[in-house]
């Protein structure tokens, strides 16, 4: 954490060809708004001139950033270079959809400075992909991964999803193996979350979709962690695996360590000096407000010491770095209980969740509050 003083920069590209039924990130399907968004984005960047010292990570996420063509990505980058200071050797990640990728746009992305590609593979089974209403097929993902490697990217992350209705442990292992055959430097394996405000959320509320049983969720989680650990990956956060420490997502770790970050674009969140603020979710409102010379802010909060502590607890307990032991002062009894239940490991200075501990990371923090 001490070395991570440089901030992180996130750009939210809020466009999708269609909405995935499980996704609760903000996006719209009206792509005619892209040029307005670009204009507004440039305006928003200029608002932050001088506010953050320097950045060493940039994450272009969405939505579907690959709906931006090479020149649009270049335009985004150029407006950044002119106002904010991105350190050399910055990690620059682009979230991609397999079927959007071509040799041409990959080359352009690379030229624009992208040095890390995250591929939204989700599954290597077409039935599962259809269930998830993804646009791509397993074959397209494999082609995309080959192209990415061919384009010279040496830091690739693959997003996969488990807990899809109909998915078996076998089919999950096959998807994992398929991803592993491309030797990704990083993997994010997310359990399908049925969130409020998503299509699946509504279906679940109507009883048309049954969430996985607790025991099955557990099995998938453990299976994933065990298999990937065996293949030499470090399980460094609940859903994230990296081939070595140098491939930990530099950007995402800033969220978990209270390092400053600036989020640009609709619904993006920023954090600096204990203050967090966020933009309006609506693309049109975002564009309008900036066009009128206003701010796209929708809210902000300054963390009290107690809130900061609570966040440090739960964010830390989601990672294999764990929390500083001093955060659990006065809770020795709990600590003993958790240790003997095999949920945490206690070292000289830190309390580190075990694999089983990560499984209950949502409720661990409250055990250490008063």
């Amino acid at each position: 954490m001490s070395n991570d003083i440089a901030a992180g920069l996130y750009i939210h590209v809020p466009f999708c060809i269609r909405k995935c039924p499980y996704c609760d990130f903000y996006s719209v399907t009206d792509r005619s708004l892209i040029s307005d968004w670009l204009t507004a984005f440039r305006q928003e960047v200029s608002l932050y001139e001088g506010r953050f010292s320097s950045f060493d990570s940039l994450y272009i996420g969405g939505g579907t950033p690959t709906l931006l063509n090479g020149s649009q990505v270049t335009a985004v980058m150029e407006s950044l270079w002119s106002t904010v200071s991105l350190l050399p050797d910055s990690e620059i990640t682009l979230e991609t959809n397999p079927d959007d990728l071509t040799q041409e746009n990959l080359a352009l992305y690379r030229q624009a400075g992208v040095n890390r590609v995250s591929v939204g593979a989700q599954s290597f089974h077409d039935e599962e992909l259809r269930y998830l209403r993804r646009r791509h097929t397993a074959r397209q993902t494999k082609q995309a991964l080959s192209m990415i490697r061919a384009a010279g990217f040496d830091n690739v992350s693959v997003d996969l999803m488990y807990g899809i209705p109909g998915q078996t442990e076998d089919s999950w292992i096959k998807s994992l193996e398929c991803a592993l055959s491309f030797d990704p430097e990083h993997l994010s394996c997310y359990q399908l979350t049925i969130g409020e405000g998503t299509v699946y959320g509504e279906m679940a509320a109507q009883g048309r979709m049954v969430p996985l049983e607790e025991e099955k969720e557990r099995r998938f989680f453990l299976l994933t962690s065990e298999l990937l650990t065996e293949r030499g990956y470090l399980h460094y956060e609940v859903s994230n695996f990296a081939r070595s420490e140098s491939y930990f997502s530099r950007h995402n770790r800033k969220y978990w360590q209270h390092v400053p970050y600036l989020g640009l674009g609709p619904s993006a969140h920023s954090f600096l000096n204990s203050t967090r603020w966020w933009n309006t979710r609506s693309v049109t409102e975002y564009c309008q407000r900036l066009a009128q010379g206003g701010s796209p802010l929708a809210g902000e909060e300054t963390l009290s010491e107690e809130q900061y502590f609570l966040e440090a607890l739960y964010l830390g307990l989601r990672t294999r770095e764990g929390i500083d032991k001093t955060l659990a002062t006065g809770h020795d009894c709990i600590l003993d209980q958790l240790q003997s239940a095999g949920l945490v490991r206690v070292t000289e200075e830190r309390i580190i969740p075990t694999r089983e501990g990560l499984l209950v990371a949502d409720s661990l923090p409250l055990l250490f509050t008063n």
């Binding site: 969220y255 920023s270 609570l310 990371a361 949502d362 409720s363 409250l366 509050t369």
Partner: protein
């Protein structure tokens, strides 16, 4: 004095006592129509919500009779519950007559009988009033029969009314002035006034409600409370016309109030006699006794930070309720708290609700206990009302527990079910009588301990609301008692410990283990719940662990949302007690007392 009548209304709960009082007040025009609200004498929220009277209230009703004579009718409204029997008896001692109100549909019930006996003990004129005659289910003839057979009163003397509809009110007034005798007493004798209640007023201190039997009292005089042996200078005397109305003096035969700079209600004793310090009465009025609590429970603030606020709340509460006694208590599981003594279960509930609502306290209450006696091998007798102080079993020669005589009135068809309940609750010596065809009066003796937890609710359930219950303490009897403890993951939750009869221990232990299992949320680890006598486990249950709850994603936009959720959960945690590493919700302590539906 000839124009004064002092009377009270007595009735089984829900038979319409407060509504009748309302009509009297409206009839006499004491209060303007627009200021009127139902149950006007029941000033506390809890009284109005539950439809019961907890504190006595007095009102002086001006009445002009049909023959044109002016009267002052003093209505002393009494609490309608066995817990407050002594208060009721003092209120009755201040009257010359009572209206015995009986519901035209429900008929005579256990409390009706008990109330009548009490009125007869005080030699009062009893006027039976059949209320709710407007109800479609009203059966006046049957009720008259019950009045004759169960109460041995002349049914022809019964008046018919509907307090709700205002029917028959004037007839009742006329009966009061014609049948109830005027008070006796001699104004020139030394003062003898009976304290039958006291209220706390934050500006004036204690307001004593009293009946003057002899003599008179006026502001500036120094009064002496005879049992209390304290003296106070009278600041104000007067009568209650809903609001206090000061008078120059109160004299023999009258009912009113005295304000004399007395700080707390507990500085006065209900039943005490007031006299004038420099011209005292020779003897106090008969019947004074100090009421002692029969039911005990400990209160623990939910958050230990709230201990001091609870001390203050209890001190303030106590100003207005002399019957509550409390002292410090401390539990290994729950920290600092208070051991409280109550007149009965209703009193306990009232204190609990008022502390929560009026004094904004949140606390846990332990299982109510009675006062047990232990005879030790060395001959000492030890009284224990708190399981924490249960003596070393090896040193106990014999154990005793208080017994009551329970009276239950039920329709005949419920007899089997009630007999079963009575046996489950260790009832003995049951007797039956059939006061009227189809109805049974059952009396039996049972341990008080069996009546204080969930007895009345069960009786109501198995008799579909028709059973009525009344009791009196009779004696202490030898009983095979033991102490039952509960452990959660090996840690004793001392606040759940109870002293219980051997034969009932297992059933109680199983019930508590099951309840705790339902109420304690799953933790990250397995939780063993055990019921134990000494080192022997007699019941157990397990709360399984939850083993997965983590959310997959936690990035920029998720962090605040997730923290807010945790903050909410953290608030919920404040309503729980940490015992060892297990969080026990407040509801678990309440659930332990809940009625058992499966039985």
């Amino acid at each position: 004095m000839q124009n004064i009548r002092n009377f009270s209304i007595i009735a089984h709960i829900d038979h319409g006592k407060s509504t009748l009082a309302d009509r009297f007040i409206q009839y006499t025009g004491l209060i303007e129509e627009r200021q009127f609200r139902d149950q006007i004498l029941d000033t506390m929220d809890i009284e109005r919500e539950r439809g019961i009277t907890i504190k006595s209230q007095t009102v002086t009703l001006p009445y002009v009779s049909r023959s044109g004579q002016e009267f002052e009718l003093n209505l002393i409204d009494t609490p309608g519950h066995v817990d407050f029997t002594y208060e009721v008896s003092r209120a009755l001692a201040s009257c010359e007559g009572v209206l015995l109100v009986i519901d035209a549909a429900q008929g005579v019930e256990a409390q009706t009988v008990a109330n009548l006996y009490m009125a007869l003990e005080h030699d009062l004129t009893v006027i039976p009033v059949i209320n709710k005659i407007d109800l479609p289910s009203a059966d006046v003839d049957r009720v008259k029969e019950e009045i004759e057979n169960e109460l041995a009163l002349d049914p022809e003397e019964a008046l018919l009314c509907s307090a709700k509809e205002g029917i028959g009110i004037e007839d009742i007034f006329e009966a009061i002035i014609n049948r109830i005798p005027p008070p006796a007493g001699t104004v020139s004798n030394p003062l003898k006034a009976l304290i039958f209640d006291a209220h706390y007023d934050s500006f004036r201190g204690t307001i004593i409600s009293c009946r003057i039997f002899d003599g008179s009292v006026r502001p500036g005089e120094t009064i002496r409370l005879m049992a209390q042996a304290s003296t106070h200078k009278v600041e104000e005397v007067g009568v209650f016309l809903i609001d206090r109305k000061p008078r120059k003096e109160l004299s023999a035969g009258e009912v009113g109030y005295i304000i004399a700079g007395i700080k707390a209600v507990s500085d006065t004793r209900i039943g005490d006699t007031i006299t004038i310090d420099n011209r005292p009465a020779l003897k106090p009025l008969a019947g004074f006794k100090v009421v002692t609590p029969v039911v005990f429970s400990s209160l623990y603030p939910i958050s230990t930070d709230d201990y001091h606020s609870m001390v203050e709340a209890l001190e303030k509460y106590k100003l207005n309720d002399a019957a509550l006694v409390y002292e410090k208590d401390s539990s290994a599981a729950l920290g600092q708290g208070f051991r409280c003594g109550f007149l009965g279960l209703l009193h306990l509930e009232i204190v609990q609700e008022r502390l929560e609502r009026e004094y904004d306290q949140s606390f846990l209450m332990t299982v109510p206990s009675v006062q047990h006696e232990f005879v030790m091998h060395d001959g000492r007798r030890v009284t224990v009302d708190n399981p924490l102080y249960y003596p070393d079993p090896a040193s106990i020669k014999s154990s005793l527990e208080p017994f009551i005589k329970a009276t239950i009135l039920i329709p005949e068809r419920y007899m089997g079910a009630v007999m079963k309940l009575c046996m489950e609750r260790r009832g003995v010596n049951s007797r039956f009588s059939y006061p009227t065809p189809g109805r049974i009066e059952m009396t039996f003796e049972m341990p008080l301990a069996e009546a204080i937890v969930d007895f009345y609710d069960r009786l109501k359930t198995i008799t579909q609301g028709y059973g009525s219950f009344d009791y009196e303490l009779i004696d202490y009897r030898e009983s095979d008692l033991t102490k039952l403890d509960f452990l959660v993951n090996g840690e004793k939750v001392d606040a759940l410990s109870i002293i219980v009869h051997q034969d009932r221990a297992r059933q109680w232990a199983v019930q508590v283990c099951d309840r705790l299992k339902e109420e304690i949320p799953r933790h990250q680890f397995k939780i063993a719940i055990q019921g134990a006598i000494g080192g022997k486990i007699i019941a157990r249950s397990t709360v399984s662990a939850f083993r997965k709850d983590v959310t997959a994603k936690c990035y920029g936009g998720d962090i605040t949302r997730k923290r807010k959720l945790l903050e909410k959960q953290k608030k919920g945690k404040k309503r729980m007690k940490m015992v060892g590493s297990v969080l026990i919700p407040q509801s678990a302590f309440v659930a332990v007392l809940r009625s058992d539906d499966e039985q």
